[in-house]
């Protein structure tokens, strides 16, 4: 009965469904993007085996992070620390790619060890660069070809793979050369810190110690670094705001549809009451209709969200820059948004229907 009622006005129902679906799809896609980014950054922070990752305290975006090299040296001297590796990180446009990740690392440092060279040789000289597997495929370049960064030519020494898409879609320069090129002398973006095996139980104490000594350094366990990265937080806030707007817009659309539907069926509702239906049953009928509508819209939205994510992943220029991961929690959030919207949008029309006086409703033309 609920579904038949909804299907009575196919056009109106389909338009409302489309509205809900688009809202939910955007929510799902944004969450997938945020989840993907979290996974990538977690991969970068933990890939080299570091236990603690440091960035600058109170920054709006990870690419602004700047830490002085003296802090790195001081931390390396701490007894519980096995090694410290600095990473300079920048995003620059290269040829057809608007976002190209360039990392500066000490060619002899510990942080570069997991960048497995699959073609050519590792970094040796300052005029050399190693290219990630995905970037090499995209540019169709290999060892002994050239890569131009900020107007500077570099010889491609080799091609590496780490298994983390952000890294494999980027390139690595020697740290000193990156500092010169990006005018960040004696600075790195992040430090990765490996704790000695015997001190592994004291990671939290070490984090406290570092933060006490260097107030403008934010230290996190590497596995928790991504969740605390400002970029992720911004994206999550945005996803939340979009969800809220989508929820309100969807609820208003559903409410409009259900109000029209109740108005059109005034006489029918009067008949139901005359036939002995309780107020509660009328309320339930209208609420069920609006929840069925929003649930269907939510499911369509999840599918549409998958499509949207696939579309973003298809774009070759964005490959590696936006890696999205569709997690069950993104779908769950999308469906919850849809159901809340259905309940909000259905409540007022259902209340109106419940309040109809049977005799007035029966007289309604």
């Amino acid at each position: 009965m609920v579904l038949k009622n909804l299907w009575r006005r196919k056009g109106r129902t389909l338009l409302t469904l489309a509205g809900i679906a688009i809202g939910v799809a955007v929510v799902v896609a944004l969450l997938a993007l945020a989840d993907g980014m979290t996974a990538q950054i977690t991969g970068m922070a933990t890939g080299g085996g570091a236990d603690v990752t440091l960035m600058q305290e109170g920054i709006a975006d990870m690419s602004f992070s700047a830490l002085g090299e003296e802090a790195g040296e001081a931390i390396a001297a701490m007894p519980e620390v096995e090694w410290v590796s600095g990473l300079l990180f920048n995003i620059v446009p290269v040829e057809q790619r608007p976002f190209f990740l360039v990392m500066g690392m000490d060619p002899q440092g510990a942080g570069i060890r997991h960048f497995r060279i699959v073609e050519g040789t590792p970094l040796q000289a300052d005029d050399e660069v190693v290219l990630g597997r995905m970037a090499a495929d995209f540019f169709d370049q290999g060892p002994d070809d050239e890569l131009v960064l900020q107007g500077q030519r570099y010889r491609i020494a080799g091609v590496y793979e780490t298994g983390v898409a952000y890294e494999d879609a980027g390139a690595v320069l020697p740290l000193a050369e990156a500092q010169r090129l990006f005018r960040k002398r004696d600075q790195v973006s992040f430090y990765q810190v490996k704790v000695r095996p015997e001190a592994i139980g004291e990671v939290d104490a070490l984090i406290d110690k570092i933060q006490e000594r260097f107030p403008d350094v934010a230290a996190y366990r590497s596995s928790e670094f991504a969740q605390n990265a400002p970029d992720i937080k911004n994206l999550q806030t945005m996803a939340g705001a979009v969800s809220l707007i989508g929820l309100l817009a969807g609820a208003l659309g559903t409410m409009n549809t259900m109000l029209m539907s109740v108005l059109e069926r005034t006489r029918e509702i009067g008949t139901l009451r005359a036939l002995g239906w309780r107020k509660r049953q009328v309320l339930g009928l209208i609420l069920q209709e609006s929840l069925a509508l929003s649930l269907a819209g939510g499911l369509m939205g999840c599918l549409l969200g998958v499509g949207l994510v696939a579309l973003i992943n298809l774009s070759p220029a964005l490959k590696g820059a936006f890696v999205s991961r569709l997690s069950p929690s993104a779908f769950a959030t999308g469906l919850i948004v849809a159901l809340v919207l259905g309940a909000l949008g259905g409540l007022y029309p259902a209340w109106r229907a419940m309040r109809l006086q049977p005799i007035e409703a029966l007289r309604y033309e």
Partner: protein
């Protein structure tokens, strides 16, 4: 006596400024198992009376007792409507997207029957009104008379003791109308359901056992219909020709029919009915 309906000084006033007394001190009693018509021109208060008996509306003053319950004291009117009365409306008010069987099941949803029990009951009711083979048709695929019969089956779903029909033939041609009245007669005789039909059509009223005539919210006539031919004569007396003959005049246009010689006899007959 076993009254199923009893009203005392039942009054309903509409409007605040220009008051309309739709019902004005109506005392009506109906015995269990009766088949009666409430007749009157539009605005006479007959639909108002029906709404008050069915607990769709509350009186301004006076009392209604239905099936032993004083309606003013009934707390759960929905349950009362669901269990005690059945409604048939002028416009069948079937739900257009539901089949005949599903429409008959609608009032059963107010109760606690299983899906299967509902279905079986609906099918039995459709058989009762002779529409078993139309169970899976939508209202749009049925004739007017068939729709009204589905509506009757729906009204009977919860085995009401009192069936209230508001102009059930109002939208039907005379053949379908007669079919619907025959159906109501059959229910009255075979199931013992008390049937109260509101109508403005004398022919429909005459197919019942008792006519209650309302005018301006008051009962102006209430008598059993023992002899339908007597009703025909009364109707004739109130016609233009009947009135002329009663006054001793034979209209110019029909003088060659030889009524003049019969006039004294006709006059005395009309004066007696």
């Amino acid at each position: 006596m076993d009254w199923i309906v009893e009203t005392r000084e039942l009054t309903k006033v509409y409007g605040d400024g220009a008051e309309v007394r739709a019902l004005d001190g109506v005392n009506l009693t109906v015995q269990e198992g009766e088949f009666l018509a409430v007749m009157g021109p539009s605005g006479s208060g007959k639909s108002t009376l029906l709404n008050l008996l069915g607990a769709l509306d509350r009186p301004t003053s006076g009392e209604v007792h239905v099936a032993g319950e004083r309606l003013a004291e009934v707390r759960n009117l929905d349950r009362f409507r669901s269990r005690t009365v059945g409604f048939v409306f002028q416009l069948h008010n079937l739900i257009p997207t539901l089949t005949s069987r599903e429409n008959v099941e609608v009032p059963l949803r107010a109760g606690h029957l299983s899906r299967r029990a509902r279905r079986e009951r609906a099918e039995a009711l459709l058989t009762l009104v002779g529409l078993a083979e139309r169970a899976d048709h939508l209202p749009a695929q049925l004739s007017g008379g068939e729709r009204q019969r589905v509506a009757i089956a729906r009204a009977l779903a919860n085995e009401p003791r009192l069936l209230l029909a508001d102009e059930p033939t109002g939208n039907l041609d005379s053949t379908s109308g007669a079919e619907v009245m025959a159906m109501l007669r059959k229910l009255n005789q075979e199931q013992g359901t008390t049937v109260l039909v509101v109508t403005h059509d004398p022919a429909v009223a005459r197919s019942t056992d008792r006519i209650v005539a309302l005018h301006d919210g008051r009962i102006v006539r209430d008598e059993p219909l023992e002899n339908p031919y007597l009703e025909d004569l009364r109707e004739f007396r109130s016609s233009a020709l009947g009135q002329a003959l009663l006054e001793g005049r034979v209209p110019q246009e029909i003088q060659e029919l030889g009524l003049q010689s019969l006039l004294p006899g006709i006059q005395s007959v009309l004066a007696r009915v």
